[in-house]
């Protein structure tokens, strides 16, 4: 469904992504894990057309999208839920959801049904419908961001740190929601620092370190990998033979 081939990206003079390649098949949950500054968000932004590439290509549904405008990419069903500033704070919850379907130019009736579907997934949003999004709690904002993304009818959802800054109870709820979205047919590329939870729900995962993918494998297998533990928990080793 998504295929990234050898992309390089820079911030000024600093190279952030080094010939990065990965792929996501339809129906999968694929995680991209790595420490702060590994280049994960840049990679998502590059996919969404928000960060220019130095070289390389991105294929979505067999079409090259690396030179497309972000709105066209969204129109194709590739939708990102950003890490920060995920919602329009001054607008109401309802208005945020309506904006999520903006590109689809739906008639009022259909729009209403789809908003109802989002409400049935996130009942708390129904209660908050008329309130300004800026007044929501962290968990509610995250749900609103999900809901708004769903209003765009995503085929592939890019999630950037959905568990960031959330209380532990809400975090597990968030991962449950991601799993159920996937079961309902949405393919997911998930960027997470909460590697344990992310790997648990993923079919496959890629591990990034300073702009390079250093490891790939099935989600559950990477959970016990020493390299992953080292990258996240700082349990380093001095000699290869240490056990």
């Amino acid at each position: 469904m998504l295929k990234i081939k050898n992309i390089n990206a820079v911030y000024g003079k600093i190279q952030i992504l080094h010939r990065t390649s990965l792929h996501v098949r339809e129906g999968e949950i694929v995680s991209l894990i790595g420490a702060n500054g590994a280049g994960k968000t840049t990679l998502l932004n590059a996919i969404s057309g928000l960060h220019p590439l130095e070289s390389g290509g991105i294929l979505f549904l067999d079409r090259e999208i690396q030179d497309m405008k972000p709105d066209r990419i969204v129109g194709m069903g590739l939708i990102q839920v950003p890490e920060t500033d995920k919602i329009f704070a001054p607008l109401t919850v309802l208005e945020n959801l309506e904006l999520g379907a903006y590109l689809r130019r739906l008639d009022r009736h259909v729009l209403k049904t789809e908003i109802e579907q989002v409400f049935s997934l996130f009942p708390i949003l129904r209660d908050r419908g008329g309130r300004a999004a800026g007044t929501l709690s962290g968990g509610e904002r995250q749900m609103l961001a999900f809901g708004r993304a769903l209003m765009g009818k995503p085929k592939l959802l890019l999630l950037d740190e959905p568990s960031l800054g959330l209380a532990p109870v809400i975090v597990s709820e968030m991962f449950r929601i991601i799993e159920s979205l996937n079961k309902m047919g949405t393919t997911i590329l998930l960027v997470e620092q909460n590697a344990r939870e992310a790997l648990r729900i993923s079919n496959r995962a890629y591990v990034m370190e300073t702009g390079r993918i250093i490891l790939t494998g099935a989600g559950v297998e990477l959970l016990n990998n020493e390299e992953v533990k080292r990258a996240f928990l700082g349990t380093d080793y001095k000699e290869k033979w240490e056990r």
């Binding site: 390649s21 792929h23 890629y206 250093i214 020493e226 240490e242």
Partner: protein, 422 residues
């Protein structure tokens, strides 16, 4: 024909190339970051991991040789801490420093799957009873047949080194449908069946998987007729995985290399230059998914040629010709690899003989059957009792080192000598 991983084994070759390139990128990062040998190799060649963008750039990387593995014994070539390693294997019969190869749980899982692919690709199913007559002590690959078979649900009889008459009895009583062994041992079984007056029709055998030594097409004919089976060739490389790199399909038109895990190149063994498809040269392999012991451009010393034309079996994976020749001095005798360097090393450790020696090989049905070593001895050591003791000493030292019974002949002085065939 059924396949174990049809989505991979019949993958469009463009898709396959993308997958290989993605995996190569990760492997290069992994090897450069974690294996000092590769970091040094890259730095010495003025190479940055970012210079290796696709498989076309692979040729910039220097080869890895068996000597490199020996120099980095024991753990210098490991790319993961030992905590991630769940198996350590060392090939016997090597000269100089030994080598040790590590595997992570994931590496073993891949290996098991590749052996299962070979089995399913020749028509083995969960209904088969697979008799493995490899020496489990000398040939570590033998265990892989157990695991591959268990993955597809077939039954395994690890008959191992049971003598031929016992093997035949097991085949008949257990109704084994598949024989896995060296081709030499299959011939030995056939000869034993003849002396015992057993007709292959009394057996349930259908399929044979043979490897660990070169065997000509003529030997295939003898084995297929003598056992009433279809005989297939399998291929592996001890330093990577053996078996499991490639295997024949029912078309018998070359061995399909599992390119999603191993990238093959053919090079001119003298100049090291890559050769084009169809040209015969030395097979060089790069592991694309190996975590513990990744090898970049490993020289296998096996001579072969590649063919990417579609195969009637449906697999899109490249095929390699069957290998009969080496680009080094190694010889294979009844499935046991013998390095002349090892012989020289053994002889140099014994006083009163050498350094000159010569080798003679007796062939049976086109396969190496017996090894004879003719060695020079000093005149003093060739007196009466001394001679017999020395002869015994040389024979047992070679047997121990090579894992093979060797016929030894001692000759006085350093005159040039010719050896008669055994």
């Amino acid at each position: 024909m059924a396949l174990f991983s049809p989505e991979t084994e019949t993958m469009n070759r463009c898709e396959l190339l993308d997958l290989q390139n993605e995996r190569l990128g990760i492997l290069i990062n992994h090897a450069y970051a974690n294996v000092r040998f590769y970091r040094n190799q890259f730095d010495a060649a003025g190479l940055n991991p970012d210079d290796i963008k696709t498989l076309d750039d692979l040729k910039k990387i220097p080869f890895t040789t068996r000597e490199d593995l020996m120099d980095n014994y024991p753990y210098g070539m490991f790319a993961v801490p030992l905590r991630d390693v769940v198996r350590l294997q060392f090939p016997l019969g090597h000269y100089g420093n030994p080598i040790v190869i590590g595997y992570t749980r994931e590496d073993l899982k891949i290996w098991r799957e590749l052996v299962a692919r070979i089995m399913v690709g020749v028509g083995i199913t969960e209904h088969d009873i697979i008799q493995v007559a490899f020496n489990y002590g000398l040939f570590m690959g033998a265990f892989r047949f157990n695991q591959g078979a268990e993955l597809i649900g077939a039954a395994v009889v690890p008959a191992s080194i049971a003598p031929a008459d016992v093997q035949i009895r097991i085949m008949r009583d257990f109704r084994s449908t598949v024989l896995v062994s060296t081709p030499s041992f299959a011939l030995h079984i056939i000869e034993t069946m003849r002396t015992q007056g057993i007709d292959p029709k009394e057996l349930s055998l259908k399929i044979g998987l043979f490897g660990a030594e070169p065997w000509p097409e003529s030997a295939r004919g003898i084995i297929e007729e003598g056992l009433g089976i279809k005989a297939y060739d399998i291929y592996g490389v001890t330093e990577l995985i053996e078996p499991g790199i490639s295997g024949e399909c029912t078309e018998k038109a070359g061995l399909h290399i599992f390119e999603d895990h191993f990238f093959p190149e053919i090079i001119d063994p003298v100049t090291g230059q890559p050769l084009i498809e169809g040209e015969e040269g030395e097979l060089v392999l790069t592991s694309l998914t190996t975590s513990a012991y990744p090898l970049l451009r490993y020289r296998t010393h096996d001579r072969t040629a590649l063919c990417t034309k579609p195969c009637a079996c449906g697999r899109t994976l490249v095929r390699m010709n069957r290998t009969f020749k080496r680009t080094d001095q190694m010889i294979s005798v009844r499935g046991i690899n013998v390095f002349p360097e090892m012989i020289a090393e053994v002889l140099s450790g014994i006083e009163g003989i050498g350094p000159e020696y010569s080798l003679a090989i007796n062939q049976h049905a086109g396969m190496n059957d017996k090894l004879k070593i003719c060695v020079e001895a000093s005149p003093e050591s060739m007196h009466g009792e001394n001679e017999a003791a020395l002869h015994e000493k040389v024979q047992s030292a070679l047997r121990k080192a090579l894992g093979l019974r060797v016929q030894v002949e001692m000759k006085k002085g350093s005159s040039l000598f010719l050896v008669d065939m055994v």
